[in-house]
Amino acid sequence: MAAKPRVAIFDFTGCEGCELNQLNFENQLLDMLGHVDIVEWREAMDDRPGEYDIAFVEGSLSTPDCIKRINEIRRRAKVLVAVGACAVQGGINSMKNTRPIEEVREEVYGKDKYLFPTLPALPLSSVVKVDVNVRGCPMTQIEFLKVFTALVMGKQPVEPTSAVCVECKLKENECVYERGMICLGPVTRGGCDAQCPSVGQYCTGCRGLVPEPNLKAMEDILVTHGLSVNEAWKRLHLYNSHELEGLKS
């Protein structure tokens, strides 16, 4: 049998909730560790070695130092996996990109803003080639397990393309629109088994947009259900500012 894949775990700008979700595989963690060698994980261990087969990377890129580090990680990793909304599509961090960066810096740090360099918050794929995405905020655990299993077996994982609505209908959930709420399920990429609508909360769009989303129709639905046009777009921007800004230009 071939040597076990060497796995490294990294974090950039984000909340580290995705990494925590990896430590939260309590029932599977020891089995998973049996199939790989974890060679680098700052949040959980001291060691810092050389090269690895699979790098799981959380967080978005938002300082000059981040850009340097992600290039280094890409160089040392055979497969690079973006984990979670911040890494995959910029996530909540990218909301700041919709405002002038100098204005944002001044608001938080005032005259001391020059102490802390910053850039627009970018998904990993804006700077390096990403091989696989694990989406969600926090990253969807069932999807992470599928990707992990596929990579350990040397297979290319398949990324879901259908909307959250499809999975929600398959679970025969009552549509949250019927309960007087709004929902971004129609344009949000599935793979989470409609986790939020299944417990009565609306889909906030954390897994990113489906390929070729019909955003005009989405806007119409949100406005029909009581949001202003402005508010509708704000809700869509929550996790997807980077992609929506890109579609605009």
């Binding site: 700008t13 580290e16 909730g17 990494e19 430590l23 001291d46 909301m95 986790q195 704000k234 929550l238």
Partner: protein, 434 residues
Amino acid sequence: MTMNLDINVEHLTRVEGHGNIVVNMRDGRLEKAQLEIVEAPRYFEAMLKGRSFHEAAIITSRICGICSLGHQMTSMKATEQALGLTVSEQTVLLRKLLIHGATIQSNVLHAYFLAAPDFLKVGSVFPLVASHPEVVLRALRMKRLANDVGEIVGGRAVHPITPVPGGFTRIPTAEELGELRRRLTEELKPDLIATVETMQALAGEIPDFTRETEFISLRSDDDYALYDGDICSSDTGCVPDSMYRELTNEYIVPHSTSKHCRHNRSSYFVGALARWNNNHDRLCGLAREAAAAMGLEPGCCNPYMNTIAQVVEAAHCAMDGIAIIDELLERGLQPEAPNQEPNRFGTGVGATEVPRGILYHEYTYDRQGRLTAANCIIPTGQNLANIDDDMKKLVPEILGQTQEEIVGNLEMLVRAYDPCISCSVHMLDVDFIE
């Protein structure tokens, strides 16, 4: 004895977020001893400006995954006060149960996965899988159960889904809570007792270091304050949570992307040890027995004992969690929808105890229920000055050790605070100007 020291631990491991320890000593004179916070700023104010009250907790909980429930609770309390949303007693009980689950999970994660490797002189928890499998399996069992509290009551352990301003989008069933109660009693309680024994065996590895400081936490007449209470200082007594700015006094330092805080002295301590010192009389019997067994006494000024105080708290949270489930089941669960009809638009403050200490959120809403001002003050930010002061006292005391030992002691000190650096950097304190 070492007269010159040049320590720079870049990206300290086994903590949440990115920080460096920097110590310089020249000819026996300490020039610098500080924790540099280099986490990339995230500018949460740019995300919150003009956002609906439905989104405030969703956004601020993304300040930190590890503390997501704490941010969510604090955010919802601030929003509810600002908008005049009242919540039911059932909602308060379910929230307290969720906080217990999150506290157990966070404290167990820190004690076993982040701090224990220091006591056992290994680089991570992974070597312990082979050398101490029963301990690792126990830690995983406890974490799983604590996370299941989050999943059953909150829909998900990291970034819970069902808690919203005004209540819950889904109420757990009596069967789910009954099963949770059984597991807390039959599985978690014995594991906690075993944890106390493990920590007792390791207590000899805890450095003997003390520094008197101010301890700040919530305090309540009703219970061991985690969800609600007055702000209480070991130096100056209790005040209502609306006065939080007078106890925090944030200021900017060049070596940290997180602001520092001070109150009655140059620094103060928040977290499990502060709660223990201020509220040990409110703990349940099992927790007090655990404290006695592990040598934790009231008025403890050894920051390394914070980890021990976390284990004591985990015991309290498990026992109180059982009592809360009993109360919920006795009252009978009501299928109520969240109260989301504001009856005013103004400013509200929320203060809760999260695993790493006292957390404050303050929001102001306009008449459309959109955020016009927001302020969050994070436990780790409040502890940073205290950590620096500890290092300044500690380094001269341990100069007889090798540089490697000194570095180890400093790393262990910072880890004892269980710092959450992502949180501390993603604070905000802004009035949005239209």
